[in-house]
Symmetry: C2
Subunit: 247 residues, 2 copies
């Protein structure tokens, strides 16, 4: 997938959008807003963008002017260092926000890439700031979203800093499961949108280690795994595994 293709397509795939009749409004920024406030938000969320699998929503170094709400699909964000190493910093699904990293320096500091065909709402940031000066609820909710991102990052730091391979994978799967559940999908059966390599990058492991951990989970009857199709058979077992004292 060439960059030019992606950029060209993006330029045209914009659609007028409206929060007030979006079925994600309980999951996304509009939480708790009154009808008239929701109308104001509609004006704010100016455009929708469609992306194909592999397209970049934004790249490191690109000017920041909007944050994005995932309307459908699945994303990853990653950061790079010169020598080629990279780290997946998160996976984002419907109702989650992308681009908060760009606020600090007016420039995006990570890449956001669609892992399947996706759709996002672009929210021009200066407008969001303007509106959140008027709507207290929106302001507070936005602050909570940013704070939640910080808390999530602390969880990942804990995972990377103290957990062993199987614990990391268990934590990862339980987190995904719970997020699918919150969106009305089965918490027990889902398919992964990311490769073993991407999971490994997120968890600070090599893809072989991820693959082996999957196999061991399957052997122990905790899951069934077929390629990217996951069925969780023993949630309690996975949870127990996570809190196993390090020997």
């Amino acid at each position: 997938m060439s960059t030019k293709d992606a950029t060209a397509r993006l330029a045209f795939e914009v659609v007028k959008t409206a929060c007030s009749n979006c079925n994600l409004r309980e999951l996304c920024l509009p939480i708790g807003l009154e009808a008239d406030e929701l109308r104001k938000l509609d004006e704010l969320v100016s455009t929708r963008r469609r992306l194909k699998r592999g397209d970049y929503l934004y790249r490191v170094g690109q000017d920041f002017e909007s944050i994005y709400a995932v309307r459908s699909g699945f994303f990853k964000t990653d950061v790079l260092i010169e020598d080629g190493r990279d780290q997946v910093t998160g996976f984002q699904m419907t109702g989650e926000l992308l681009g908060l990293d760009g606020i600090s320096s007016e420039v995006h500091t990570c890449n956001a890439i669609a892992l399947e065909d996706s759709e996002v709402c672009a929210i021009p940031f200066s407008h969001l700031e303007g509106l959140s000066r008027q709507i207290h609820t929106l302001q507070h909710h936005f602050h909570q979203v940013m704070s939640r991102e910080i808390v999530r990052d602390h969880g990942v730091m804990m995972l990377l800093g103290t957990m062993r391979a199987e614990e990391r994978l268990a934590a990862f799967l339980l987190n995904l499961s719970q997020r699918f559940k919150a969106r009305g999908y089965s918490p027990a059966e889902f398919n992964l949108r990311m490769s073993r390599d991407e999971i490994g990058s997120y968890l600070g492991l090599k893809l072989e280690t991820v693959s082996r951990a999957f196999s061991r989970f399957q052997d122990e009857g905790l899951l069934s795994v077929h390629q990217r199709r996951i069925r969780i058979l023993n949630t309690a077992g996975l949870k127990k595994l996570m809190s196993h004292q390090r020997l």
Copy 2:
């Protein structure tokens, strides 16, 4: 140091404070505010608190109502899991903010502990939201601070996910160095406020590994180390070490 001692002392050590004549105002929340705006901020920043080494500024589970700006001293924040493992999520120095994690759930999700005698300004969060609805500059600056925290966390994730022990320690020291420099202290010579164990926890390493890495750096002439006293002798060498391709 017992908890009760700390809590009792904290209750009394409150002092009226003012941003407008604080010599940190170029480093802290007031950046870029006009004189009259600064006066409003003064009313906001209600109290100052002194802490002794080892005191908790706040604890996991405690109700969130203020964020804190470090006026002097040095802090660490950490998170725990049931089985006793813990992860230091950050070290905070003068001008940096503490407590952003609490916004999302109205409850603190990490502990903040003074690593030396310290002083903080308490900023009641609801007041901050109120004022930032009036002062655009303040609002934007606050968003930048939160975003910067997210970017910093991504850096730590990169460190924990992809770097080896010596690279982590080099990155850590260079970061400290640069932060001391920004505060007008020597970037080359400083003393660490935290133990090897705390460094290890932050970097996802055991204290022995940290100690060995220090020794090796010293052998290679990159630093001189005497207990917690650090002198950086070869910044370029440390930087090069950081970007060494993994074999």
